[in-house]
C-alpha cells in the first residue's frame, strides 16, 4: 500500500506515476511537515509500506530535504517526492547523508549570513519608524 500525501496537483495524474496498484490519497497542507507524529499516524492508519509526497511541479516544491529527513527519522525506506509531469526525487539514505545533509548545512550557513545581512540592510533602506 502506497500513501500519497498530496500537497498540490491532480491526485489522479499523480497516482498514475505510482508503481503500486494500491494507492491511498491523503490531502495535506505542507505545514504538516512540522508534525512528524501526524505523518507517522497517517502511515500507521493506512498501513502504508511506501510514502509518496505529491506536488504539482517538483521545481517549486520547498522543503524537499526536510521531507527526506522525516522519511529517515520515521524509518520509511520506500519514499519519494513526485510531480504531475512524472519527475521524481527519490529517497535514499546514502544520498541523504552524504549529499543532501551537507547541502542543508551549507544552506543553514548561507541563511544565517543572509539574515544577518538583512538586519544591516533593511534599517538602511527603511525611512523612519511605523506610526
Amino acid at each position: 500500500m502506497t500513501l500519497l500525501l498530496l500537497i498540490s496537483g491532480n491526485p489522479e495524474i499523480l497516482q498514475q506515476h505510482s508503481t503500486d496498484a494500491q494507492v491511498v490519497v491523503v490531502k495535506i497542507d505542507d505545514k504538516i511537515i512540522s508534525q512528524p507524529k501526524r505523518i507517522k499516524q497517517l502511515i500507521v492508519e493506512h498501513n502504508a509500506t511506501a510514502v509518496v509526497v505529491g506536488t504539482k511541479e517538483l521545481k517549486f516544491q520547498r522543503f524537499q530535504i526536510i521531507w527526506k529527513m522525516l522519511f529517515f527519522v520515521l524509518g520509511i525506506k520506500d519514499a519519494a517526492i513526485i510531480d504531475e509531469a512524472g519527475s521524481k526525487n527519490s529517497f535514499s539514505v546514502v544520498r541523504l547523508l552524504f549529499v543532501e545533509l551537507p547541502f542543508l548545512v551549507a544552506e543553514c550557513i548561507a541563511s544565517v549570513a543572509m539574515i544577518a545581512w538583512a538586519y544591516v540592510m533593511f534599517p538602511i533602506l527603511r525611512k523612519g519608524k511605523r506610526a
Binding site: I7, F60, F63, M114, I115, A118, L125, G128, A131
Partner: protein, 392 residues
C-alpha cells in the same frame, strides 16, 4: 502606458483561488484599456493569452528553510529585471506585495522607475494569524520599505486602506481598488447543465458556494445552515465548489448533522469551469466572517463579483467591503454574520421568492457590468499611479 507587473513571491506551482483570477483579470483589463503589459514572476502565473512573461527562478540554495528564500531573491530580481526595463521602458511597475518583498523599492532606488504597490494585506498580520513568523522585525521592516518607497498603493477595501494609513503611510497615496470580474466570461448566458448532470443534481433547487474553504469564507457557517434548511425544504441541495483548509471541518459538520446526502463537495475545479458551476446554482452564498482575532474582514472576495456578473441571487454577510458592494434587497440579501440560523432563513426566503430573486439578480448584474468590470479596475490602477505622482 507601459506597465511591468512584478509578482515574485514563492507560492509554489498551484494557481487556484481568487488571487490568481484577480491577477489574470487585472492584466487583461490593463491590456483591454490599451496599455502594454509584461509580467515578471518566479512561479507559474496564469496570464492572458499572448502576454509576455519573464520568469526569474529562485536560488536553489534557500529551499529548505522558511522565510529566508525571499530575502536574497529581492536582489536577484533587481539584477535580472534591469535588461527587461531597459528594453520595455515601463512607465511604472505594478508590484504585488508579499513577505520580505522589497523588489519595487530596490528597483525604484537604483533605476528610478516608480512603482505602485498592490497591497492585499499586511504580511506581518497574516503570518501572525494564519501562519508562522520567525523574523517579525525583519518582516516589519521589509513591509515598511515596500510601503514607503511606493508612488501609490492600491488596496482592495476601505478596511485595508485604514490599516495601511495606520502603518504610517500618507493617506493621499492609498487608493481603494476593489476586485472585479470579466462580465463576458461570467455571464448569465453560461450553461450549467453539464454540471447538474455531472453531479446528478437533476432539477433540484441548488444553493451554491464557491471558494477555497479559507478561514474568512464562512463555509462552516453554511455547513451548519444546511440542516436547518433541509428541515424546512428537503428539495434544496447544496453545492460546495472548491477545496481547502476547512473542508474536513465542513465534512465533519455535515456528517454530524446527517445531511451529507443533501450536499455535493466538488473539490477544486479549474477556474475556466467556475462559471458553469455558478450557472448550475439557483442561489449563491458568500457567508464571509470577520477574522478569528476579531479584526474586521479586509478582503474583496472575487467570487462575489463573479456571482454578481452571473446574475445570480446572492446571500451575503455584510462584513467589510461586502456591505459596500451589496445593498440589502437591491443586488443581494443580507444574512447576519456567523449566524447559521439567519443564513438558513435567508436561503429559504430567497429560494422561494421569484420576484425577489429577479430583482436582486438583475441589480447584481447591472453593478458587475458598470462598476466592477476588470477594465474599470485596471483604469483605477493607472489613475492611482497618476494621482500618486501628484502627491510626491
Amino acid at each position: 502606458m507601459n506597465v511591468l507587473f512584478v509578482r515574485t513571491d514563492q507560492y509554489g506551482a498551484a494557481t487556484d483561488g481568487g488571487s490568481f483570477s484577480m491577477q489574470k483579470g487585472m492584466l487583461a483589463g490593463l491590456r483591454n484599456c490599451g496599455h502594454n503589459v509584461e509580467v515578471v514572476t518566479s512561479c507559474p502565473l496564469p496570464v492572458p493569452d499572448g502576454m509576455r512573461v519573464h520568469t526569474i527562478d529562485f536560488s536553489p540554495l534557500y529551499n529548505n528553510l522558511p522565510e529566508v528564500i525571499s530575502i536574497p531573491h529581492n536582489w536577484k530580481v533587481k539584477k535580472e529585471v534591469r535588461g527587461i526595463i531597459e528594453r520595455f521602458k515601463p512607465d511604472f511597475i505594478y508590484q504585488r506585495h508579499s513577505g520580505f518583498n522589497i523588489t519595487g523599492a530596490l528597483i525604484q532606488r537604483e533605476l528610478g522607475i516608480p512603482y505602485v504597490l498592490q497591497f492585499d494585506g499586511s504580511e506581518v498580520w497574516m503570518k501572525k494569524n494564519w501562519g508562522k513568523l520567525y523574523f517579525e522585525k525583519l518582516l516589519t521592516w521589509a513591509e515598511d520599505i515596500a510601503l514607503q518607497h511606493a508612488t501609490a498603493i492600491t488596496v482592495v477595501s476601505k478596511v485595508m486602506k485604514k490599516t495601511v494609513v495606520q502603518l504610517g503611510v500618507d493617506e493621499r497615496k492609498v487608493f481603494v481598488v476593489p476586485n472585479g470580474v470579466d462580465p463576458q466570461r461570467f455571464s448569465p448566458t453560461v450553461d450549467g447543465t453539464w454540471v447538474r448532470e455531472k453531479y446528478n443534481l437533476g432539477g433540484k433547487k441548488i444553493c451554491g458556494f464557491v471558494g477555497t474553504f479559507g478561514q474568512w469564507h464562512g463555509v462552516t457557517v453554511l455547513a451548519e445552515a444546511v440542516n436547518q434548511v433541509i428541515k424546512q425544504d428537503p428539495s434544496i441541495h447544496f453545492l460546495f465548489v472548491g477545496d481547502g483548509g476547512l473542508r474536513k471541518k465542513v465534512e465533519e459538520i455535515l456528517g454530524q448533522d446527517n445531511v451529507r446526502q443533501y450536499t455535493t463537495i466538488t473539490g477544486l475545479v479549474k477556474h475556466d469551469e467556475v462559471p458553469a458551476h455558478v450557472a448550475a446554482c439557483d442561489v449563491v452564498t458568500s457567508p464571509t466572517v470577520h477574522n478569528p482575532d476579531g479584526t474586521e474582514f479586509f478582503g474583496s472576495p472575487t467570487k462575489l463579483f463573479e456571482y454578481m456578473a452571473m446574475q445570480k441571487p446572492i446571500i451575503v454577510s455584510p462584513v467589510g467591503q461586502i456591505a459596500d458592494v451589496i445593498t440589502d434587497g437591491v443586488n443581494g440579501v443580507y444574512a447576519k454574520e456567523n449566524n447559521p440560523q439567519d443564513l438558513a432563513e435567508k436561503i429559504l426566503t430567497v429560494m422561494n421568492n421569484p420576484t425577489l430573486k429577479t430583482t436582486i439578480s438583475n441589480g447584481a448584474r447591472y453593478d458587475a457590468e458598470t462598476k466592477y468590470d476588470w477594465n474599470v479596475h485596471a483604469e483605477s490602477i493607472v489613475s492611482a499611479f497618476r494621482k500618486g505622482l501628484e502627491v510626491l
